[in-house]
């Protein structure tokens, strides 16, 4: 894993230069926005809102039928 040749090292340096240049936003902005998104979407999440699980296609509804 550590045995990179010169071409690979050059590529790694180029990649690191590219990665260094990206725009980074402050966590004081991104974290509250992430939390807000999650909390708003939770009402639509069937695992957290049992109302949404009422029509459960994986559960047999109705009584048994005599064939």
């Amino acid at each position: 894993m550590d045995e990179l040749d010169e071409t690979q090292m050059k590529n790694q340096v180029e990649s690191l230069k590219y990665q260094h240049q990206i725009t980074r936003e402050k966590t004081s902005v991104t974290i509250p926005e992430l939390v807000k998104w999650v909390e708003e979407t939770m009402t639509e999440d069937p695992f957290l809102n049992s109302e949404l699980m009422k029509d459960n296609p994986w559960v047999e509804t109705g009584k048994c039928v005599v064939l």
Partner: protein, 340 residues
């Protein structure tokens, strides 16, 4: 020798600069932000269906976008397309090579793909006019095993490999469009962003990389894990990434701030994470482990809120339907279970 030394120094210096840039924007923590939020209540999901039919370990499964059909791959040499509502097998596709490690369902529902120790990604057309499922294309160029594959569309697919690269393929011509190189260890897993513009890969070099599909470049690299990353997924809003590792932890990385937000770990968990999937809102993270269980984590509070227990061997794969209504686990015990 001087050239290599210079490059090494430059690389180290750039890594230090990236670390500093990350620190500079780190002015809030997830823990503090949610300190006033309650942990979600205990989540108890039940097994609703057991899909029986494979004769050996299941290595992978993937839901169709219709949230009803799913495909699974087993080292019994078969790909099975299941109707998860009825448990019927829609297709049982015999594979040329039984050493399969991954499978994928195309978003259109028209194709499935698989691959493994044959180093190839085989594409199968499910909708052939004569009704027979046949190999449509064999994508060969990787020099290592195929660990994961995901369709972008019916004409493009991305693969990850033990040869440390990921590749974007043109399915029509069977050729490589782009090679994504940069990982220093086997690529184990990949996931495509909800907007299909980027994808993430997890590797045995303990890092996760975010790649721009059209530019062909790595935009961000996330470290922190102490061992192989086996599983990776996008957070449903596309702005964060979750990973699962042999180091027994899962992590959440923020793409906008370019850093790790939190680790999901417990001293009682000592085995590797094999698979990971978020619930529809991302509030729950379901992770499969080597100890035969799946843990359900509250992603914001980093606490375990549930367990899926029922398999008699390692949980190798997990997936949540697009509509969030159910989760499927696949195991080395040869069964798939549907939970909700």
């Amino acid at each position: 020798m001087g050239e290599m030394e210079q490059l090494r120094k430059e690389a180290e210096s750039l890594k230090d600069e990236i670390t500093a840039a990350r620190k500079a924007v780190n002015d809030a923590s997830l823990q503090d932000t949610v300190s006033g939020t309650a942990v979600v209540g205990r989540v108890q999901l039940k097994t609703r269906k057991t899909l029986r039919g494979h004769l050996a370990k299941i290595y992978a499964m993937h839901w169709s976008t219709d949230s009803k059909l799913c495909v699974s791959a087993s080292q019994d040499g078969k790909l099975i397309v299941w109707d998860s509502h009825t448990t019927n097998k829609v297709n049982a596709i015999p594979l040329k090579s039984s050493w399969v490690m991954t499978c994928a369902y195309a978003p259109s529902g028209n194709m499935v793909a698989c691959g493994g120790l044959d180093n190839m990604c085989s594409i199968y057309n499910l909708k052939a006019k004569d009704g027979n499922v046949k190999v449509m294309r064999e994508l060969a160029a990787h020099t290592g095993y195929l660990s994961c594959c995901r369709f972008l569309s019916d004409s493009e697919i991305i693969t990850s490999s033990g040869d440390c690269t990921c590749v974007l393929w043109d399915i029509e011509t069977g050729t490589q469009k782009t090679v994504f190189a940069g990982h220093l260890g086997d690529c184990m897993s990949l996931a495509v962003s909800p907007d299909f513009k980027t994808f993430i890969s997890g590797a045995c070099d303990s890092t996760a990389k975010l790649w721009d599909i059209r530019e062909g470049q790595c935009r961000q690299t996330f470290g922190g894990h102490e061992s192989d990353i086996n599983a990776i997924a996008f957070f449903p809003n596309g702005n964060a990434v979750i990973t699962g590792s042999d180091d027994a932890t899962c992590k959440l990385y923020d793409l906008r701030a370019d850093q790790e937000l939190i680790t999901y770990q417990d001293s009682s968990i000592m085995c590797g994470v094999t698979s990971i999937a978020p619930s529809l809102s991302g509030r729950l993270i379901l992770a499969g482990y080597d100890d035969f269980n799946c843990n359900i984590w509250d992603s914001l509070k980093s606490e375990r809120v549930g367990v899926l227990a029922g398999h008699d061997n390692r949980v190798s794969c997990i997936g949540v339907t697009a509509d969030g209504m159910a989760c499927c686990t696949g195991s080395w015990d040869s069964f798939l279970k549907i939970w909700n």
